[in-house]
């Protein structure tokens, strides 16, 4: 069970790496943003996985007073925040990419660099 219990963390690691690879190795700016979005989602998975309690339920107290087992609410709160931060970054990044496309006529990193140098 030890291995199964860590599967979430391994998926987190691999997703993180896939995202990071897309960011670093891909020249297309939209691809980079998509990679960034995977990269951030991976971290959400890390937090939510650590919040899980075996046999627990969502932290909504139905019958006050009865002892119940709940999953940890704090990481949920943190990740709610992080999701919003994520889409904010993506939206801003997309706006910049649109402007780059208008100014430079391309969204490939190396072509932008080439045109940047010509100016």
């Amino acid at each position: 069970m030890k291995v199964l219990g860590l599967y979430n963390y391994w998926v987190f690691t691999v997703l993180l790496m896939i995202g990071l690879y897309a960011i670093i190795a891909r020249g297309n700016l939209v691809k980079k943003l998509l990679g960034l979005s995977i990269f951030q989602s991976a971290v959400f998975l890390l937090y939510i996985s650590m919040a899980k309690v075996e046999g627990g339920t969502a932290p909504i107290i139905q019958h006050a007073g009865e002892p119940q087992l709940f999953s940890n609410p704090l990481p949920h709160v943190l990740i709610l925040t992080a999701i919003v931060v994520g889409i904010s970054t993506i939206a801003l990044g997309l706006a910049i990419v649109v402007r780059i496309r208008e100014e430079f006529g391309t969204i490939e990193e190396d072509e932008i660099q080439a045109r940047d140098r010509d100016r």
């Binding site: 990071l20 190795a25 691809k31 909504i60 949920h76 709160v77 709610l80 994520g86 997309l94 706006a95």
Partner: protein
């Protein structure tokens, strides 16, 4: 059974992520990202994070996809293929992966109730929420109450992003295609239009339900704001950009964005004026618990207003732009 299902979902997540990176068509990649978000939302739900799942579905799979598509309409969908030397990225990734895998070996097993993460602060929230806040959704109580300051920061992040999109796309460039017909949406397509119009009231209603029911069940300002924004965006998609703008002009949207955030900050400052700390709601009413609830309502309202305004404004900023020649 649930474990096995989670296992499958996680594996699908991996497959989808690889497909996103590999596909040369950006449009396909964006649609796959939407699927990725839905799978992620399902995973969160299995891990008992109902609120997070709702947010991921509404924001990750919904709004984020719409924004990507709006941008792709201006950018074009093909990725250029180039041979690049992948050694440096691979080295960086290898090192990071090694660190993380190394770290996992001492991590507590998934779901272990004795893990340190469940010991210190978290039980306090679960115990004190009914007493101090008088609400059943602990996530909402922590989000808008105990850690409301974080949430203020979060509202400001999305406000900043909204202002950023408006600022960056404020500059209009000549050289768009003049012969392009004005965007009329799906006005000439009867079936989607009728069905879509039928759905919009329900979408908005569901958003409002989430807004006001957040204390008792999954929901709250972020989810509500995102879903209401989707409803408004759907209207603009069906009736055309101009009609969408007519019901909520940029001026109004800016007002909503700024107003919601200012409402949140003002609630905080009111707490100070009433003799407490910043964001202390207990002074709002003679009964501290009622004061807390009022404060949470106001704060969530601010969140909902800002999120709606920002997402709709960001959509219009992309949709209302002419594609460069």
């Amino acid at each position: 059974m649930v474990t096995a299902f989670g296992f499958v979902l996680l594996t699908l997540l991996l497959v989808t992520a690889v497909a996103i990176v590999v596909t040369p068509n950006l449009f396909v990649a964006v649609m796959l990202t939407s699927i990725f978000s839905l799978l992620m939302a399902a995973t969160f739900f299995l891990l008992d994070a109902a609120d997070v799942a709702l947010t991921e579905a509404a924001i990750g799979a919904g709004m984020s996809t719409i924004l990507f598509l709006g941008a792709l309409a201006l950018i074009g969908e093909h990725e250029a293929r180039r041979r690049r030397r992948p050694w440096l990225p691979l080295a960086v990734i290898g090192l990071t992966a090694f660190t993380l895998i190394y770290a996992t070996f001492d991590k507590p097993r998934l779901g272990d109730p004795a893990a340190p993460v469940h010991q210190h602060v978290a039980p306090w929230y679960l115990e004190q929420t009914p007493e101090l806040m008088g609400m059943s959704n602990v996530v909402t109580a922590v989000l808008a109450g105990f850690r409301a300051y974080d949430t203020l920061g979060e509202v400001l992040v999305i406000l900043t992003a909204g202002f950023g999109v408006l600022l960056i796309l404020a500059e209009r460039r000549a050289g768009g295609r003049p012969d392009r017909p004005p965007a009329v949406g799906l006005r000439h397509h009867l079936i989607p239009r009728v069905v879509g119009q039928l759905l919009i009231p329900f979408i908005v209603l569901f958003g409002l339900y989430l807004q006001f029911h957040g204390e008792f069940g999954p929901g709250g300002g972020f989810q509500a704001g995102a879903i209401i924004a989707v409803g408004i965006v759907l209207h603009a998609l069906l009736e055309g950009e101009a009609a969408g703008r007519a019901i909520l002009p940029t001026r109004v949207l800016t007002g909503l964005m700024a107003g919601g955030a200012f409402l949140f900050a003002a609630v905080g400052i009111a707490g100070m004026l009433l003799g407490g700390e910043f964001l202390d709601y207990s002074g709002f009413s003679a009964d501290p618990v009622a004061g807390q609830q009022l404060g949470v309502h106001l704060v969530e309202a601010g969140v909902g207003i800002t999120v709606t305004g920002t997402l709709v404004a960001a959509f219009h900023a992309f949709a209302d732009r002419e594609r460069p020649a």
